[in-house]
């Protein structure tokens, strides 16, 4: 499973990096490390519109998103 670290990055890089990984099609599951709630929302929306499911787990200031191909 590929891990994408988008902590500290400005828009639109978090969504861009995640969608690039989805398009690359190498993994059917992605883990994304996010530290910004707006990025969490944007990634969730973008992944869902690409047909991927999203689950979130929070740890301190960080959110771990697990994206799975449907």
């Amino acid at each position: 499973m590929q891990t994408i670290d988008v902590r500290g990055l400005s828009c639109p890089q978090p969504v861009f990096l995640v969608l690039e990984a989805i398009k690359a099609g190498k993994d059917s599951t992605l883990e994304v490390r996010v530290d910004n709630i707006a990025a969490v929302e944007n990634i969730t929306r973008a992944a869902a519109s690409s047909g991927w499911s999203v689950s979130a787990a929070e740890s301190g200031e960080e959110t771990f998103l697990t994206l799975a191909k449907q």
């Binding site: 500290g8 990055l9 400005s10 969504v15 969730t44 979130a56």
Partner: protein, 363 residues
């Protein structure tokens, strides 16, 4: 998941927020703000620069409570929903320059992207070329994003850092309360005031502050961003924010119709010029600057209220940019571009394209 946690960030939520911002902007005009200016972030930061004596353009000096309210409304929302997080360190000097250049472009056009929509919703058709330029600038930025542009990661900052811009806003509010306008006087205490022109037109303090606080609160929750609307459509074909922007336009249009503030045409529009070339190019420069910085002027204020010190630096850059624009003859007037406006756009575009080109990650 999103709708449970934050209804304002849903599609319907951002449309409602956009519509509300449009209506409230028109209401502020009805209450005394300059026509088609509503709650223009660039214009009002420029007016604050004038109120503090950073420039000497006598017709645009007023310590606008709206800017204070937008930042503090977002600050309160971020605190309330536990989203206040001091962060920064992502190329702050470049972000300052992006703020300066973004403001310069906005003052060549005469308005931020929000005002382009307010102008269009008030019937000022010159805004069409401005919006086309804005979209073109963001389109140029998408090339850089696709080829690895990044201002690199920010990091958590010491807690006091995140409070700096909200505290500056509190201090500004204190100055506004301490030194209210005196009839017929250009100065009250340390603050400058306009006796005529756009700076002399303003809604009552409490209305300006209250409405801006509400907009700041709603916009922080919805992540409303006029630049992001175009960028996300160009990059990802996502229309989430774009619907919010269209709702803003619909809101200001409907309210202007209701208040008798809709006057369609190109010529003689308030605080605007009809030089299409420089309307287009000014906003091209702004669009590119705002896109590289990751947010429109309003969004930068909201993020600074969330503790984002990089956004705070951008806001300070915009205020300095406004002062420079008026001191150096870069800003336009109703008659057309300022004497040095075209040169500023040429230089600014070279700087922006250089930033875009040289800040790409090698991988």
């Amino acid at each position: 998941m999103l709708s449970k946690n934050n209804p304002f960030a849903t599609g319907i939520g951002v449309v409602c927020v956009g519509f509300a911002v449009g209506i409230l902007a028109s209401v502020l005009q009805k209450l005394g703000n300059p026509p088609n200016m509503g709650i223009c972030v660039a214009c009002f930061e420029r007016d604050i620069a004038g109120a503090l004596g950073l420039h000497q353009a006598a017709i645009v000096r007023y310590l606008r409570p709206e800017i204070i309210g937008l930042c503090l409304g977002a600050f309160l929302a971020a605190l309330l929903f536990k989203e206040f997080r001091p962060r920064g360190g992502s190329s702050p000097t470049l972000r300052f320059i992006l703020g300066v250049i973004g403001m310069t472009g906005a003052l060549v056009f005469l308005g931020c992207p929000w005002r382009a929509l307010f102008r269009l919703g008030g019937g000022d058709l010159n805004a069409l070329t401005g919006l086309a330029g804005f979209a073109a600038g963001i389109g140029m930025a998408t090339f850089f994003f696709k080829t690895g542009f990044s201002l690199e990661s920010g990091k958590s900052q010491p807690s006091p850092a995140g409070y700096v811009l909200p505290l500056i806003m509190v201090v500004l509010l204190g100055l506004r309360l301490l030194y209210p306008q005196v009839d017929g006087a250009e100065k009250s205490g340390v603050l400058f005031y306009s006796l005529k022109g756009p700076g002399a037109s303003h809604a009552p303090l409490l209305a300006s502050l209250g409405i801006a606080l509400a907009i700041g609160f709603l916009a922080q929750r919805s992540r409303f961003c006029s630049m992001g609307a175009f960028r996300d459509f160009f990059l990802f074909r996502q229309t989430h924010l774009l619907w919010g922007v269209l709702a803003l336009l619909a809101g200001v249009f409907c309210a202007n119709l209701a208040f008798g503030q809709f006057h369609p045409g190109f010529a003689g529009q308030p605080v605007a010029h009809d030089n299409h070339l420089w309307n287009f190019l000014g906003m091209t420069m702004s669009g590119l600057a705002f896109a590289l910085a990751g947010g429109c002027p309003g969004r930068q204020l909201f993020m600074s209220g969330e503790g984002d010190t990089d956004a705070g630096i951008f806001v300070l850059g915009m205020i300095v940019g406004a002062a420079l624009s008026h001191n150096l003859g870069l800003a336009s007037s109703g008659a057309g571009p300022g004497p040095n406006g075209p040169v500023a756009v040429a230089v600014g575009m070279v700087v922006l394209l250089s930033i875009g080109f040289f800040c790409r990650r090698k991988s």
